[in-house]
């Protein structure tokens, strides 16, 4: 008697059938799967990269100093710029930050430092809800709340709409980094006799600063690219900023208007504006991620 058991006595292995035909089918479906994965990935990456590169190539030749500093030219004229749109976007993001940063940050502090029980669960849920609402709804909200009562489109209403969009982004990223701060730091501070408020303000928040800043900058970059909520609030204009209760231009709004334009000059400027907007958003978000990338590794 040989010591090796007969085939029928071996434990069955569903993945190792002796038949050659089955083996071929298995290898074939494996190859098919790999091919599918490679092809879809290649398709996704090529389409998306093509889009970015195409817009960049179309827009780059039309970038010059006057594009950044001048007002849009009269319809049909060549030249002119989008200076007022860049100014307007900076103003709108600034106004939005006044609302979005404190609300988002304090919500995050509440959730990470005081948050227990059903109420904080509800708050967290509401923040997620806020994050999922299509941005045009915030535009409608600011429109009904500010534009209609004051009988005019305004930078203020645009800032309010963008500010509410910022809240959940700031709150979720800040809560995540505040939770990463080790509990021992808090306990050490409390053991030294510091009050809870002092512990939070002088120990926890400083330890999480880089992560909080990352979240804030990402939120600003995100709202800088928003168009839909600005249609019915900031509205757009072709003049320099004249006051928070007046309409103001924004980079995405200017791109939207120029895309529809019958004049090739303005279509070129829409491409150039897109390049500026995309570079602005990507630079800020990646610069801040790179600059503060060491945060998670510190603990």
């Amino acid at each position: 008697m040989s010591s090796t058991p007969k085939a029928s006595e071996r434990p069955t292995n569903p993945f190792q059938m002796p038949s050659t035909a089955h083996h071929v089918i298995r290898q074939f479906s494996n190859a098919l799967c790999i091919a599918f994965a490679v092809l879809t990935a290649a398709f996704a990456i090529i389409v998306l990269l093509y889009l970015i590169i195409y817009i960049t190539l179309q827009g780059l030749p039309f970038l010059n100093l006057s594009f950044f500093t001048e007002l849009p030219g009269a319809f049909g004229s060549s030249g002119g710029g989008i200076g007022e749109a860049i100014q307007g976007t900076l103003i709108l993001v600034g106004l939005a930050s006044v609302i979005g940063i404190p609300l988002g940050l304090f919500t995050a502090i509440y959730l990470s430092e005081f948050g227990t029980g059903w109420f904080s669960q509800a708050v967290r849920f509401m923040v997620d809800v806020l994050n999922g609402i299509p941005t045009i709804i915030f535009g409608l909200f600011a429109w009904v709340l500010i534009v209609i009562p004051t009988h005019g489109f305004s930078a203020l209403s645009g800032g309010v709409a963008l500010g509410i969009i910022m809240i959940p982004i700031v709150a979720r990223t800040a809560e995540d980094v505040l939770r990463l701060v080790p509990q021992e730091l808090r306990e050490a501070s409390l053991a030294l006799g510091a009050t809870q408020s002092r512990t939070i303000l002088q120990v926890v928040i400083p330890a999480a600063t880089s992560g909080i800043v990352t979240g804030i900058v990402l939120a600003m970059a995100r709202v800088a690219g928003e168009t839909a909520p600005l249609l019915m609030t900031a509205f757009g204009s072709t003049f320099w900023f004249t006051g928070v209760m007046q309409p103001v231009d924004a980079l995405p709004l200017r791109i939207f208007v120029f895309t529809d334009s019958p004049y090739p000059v303005q279509i070129n400027q829409a491409y150039a504006g897109s390049v500026v907007l995309v570079v602005l958003i990507l630079l800020t978000s990646f610069a801040v991620r790179w600059a503060t990338g060491g945060f998670k590794r510190r603990f």
Partner: protein, 331 residues
Amino acid sequence: MQGKIATTGEEGLRSLLSTLTGGNRRLSDILFQGVTALFVLLTLASVFGIAWVLVSYSLPTLATFGWHFLTNQAFDPVHNIYGVAPAIFGTLVTSFFAIIFAVPIGLGAAIFLVEFCPRPLRPALSFIMDMLAAVPSVVYGLWGFLVMAPWLISTGEPWLHRYLGFLPFFDGQYHGLGLLAAGMILVIMILPLIISVSREVMLTVPRSQREALLALGATRWEVIRHAILPGARIGIVGGIILALGRALGETMAVTMVIGNQATAPSWSLFNTGYTLASVIANQFGEATPGLFLSALIETGLLVFIITLIANILARLLVSHVGRGRIGGLAA
């Protein structure tokens, strides 16, 4: 006199400050927590405020049309009849088109990134994905309007009509702008989201599961089929619903390429149309107080409710995965 008052004022302030910061610890903590809670209430107020504004301003149309708002054919200020039937149709068609094409492509790409991608390429590819998720929708809209729509009218739609014209979807006049263009731009826009969510949930499947199957002699496809997909299934479905929510509410890119004109109802994807969100973006300029305004806000309310349901479902599914209740072969 003046100086003395100022000094006492300063002393008072200082003693108040010391009370707040050191003298009376409980008071400062209570104050800080109170201020924090106040901001939390403001955040909550913005959510409830939005819901309240949408509902209260929708009441006139709700009272006038009731459910007929969903079946009436158009915004007709002349006869003061408002309805969103074509917009609901356009929203559903474009979103489901996007999901049908973006899900297999996105899943395949995610499987590639997790299972087959050469290690040195990985950071570069995730960088590209992050980058694309950050591109604003107006830029996708610009590309769709200036590049994709002209291509569709000259090449894409004639080709589809010639080879797939027996299907009702690819029949009729070529417009370039239309449901097909909107669906295609949505595919591109939700791809990064589907890829990143699927990739993340696939990575949560424990290494031991893969290694166990590989040790049994399974092929790579069998590992994916029997270990990774079952383990990540719930999270992937959550990601798909999240992407669906994004597609249902997307405004700018869709508004720029969908044509914003009603055509006679048919199944053709070549037709122009509109979505709920694009109706709002297009019509707010003409809105007059009264039923028109109310109808616009009710359209917003519909978008709000639809995306809310999608998001709640998606979060429940994704958080279910996040808690680590995955990875079982039997799942």
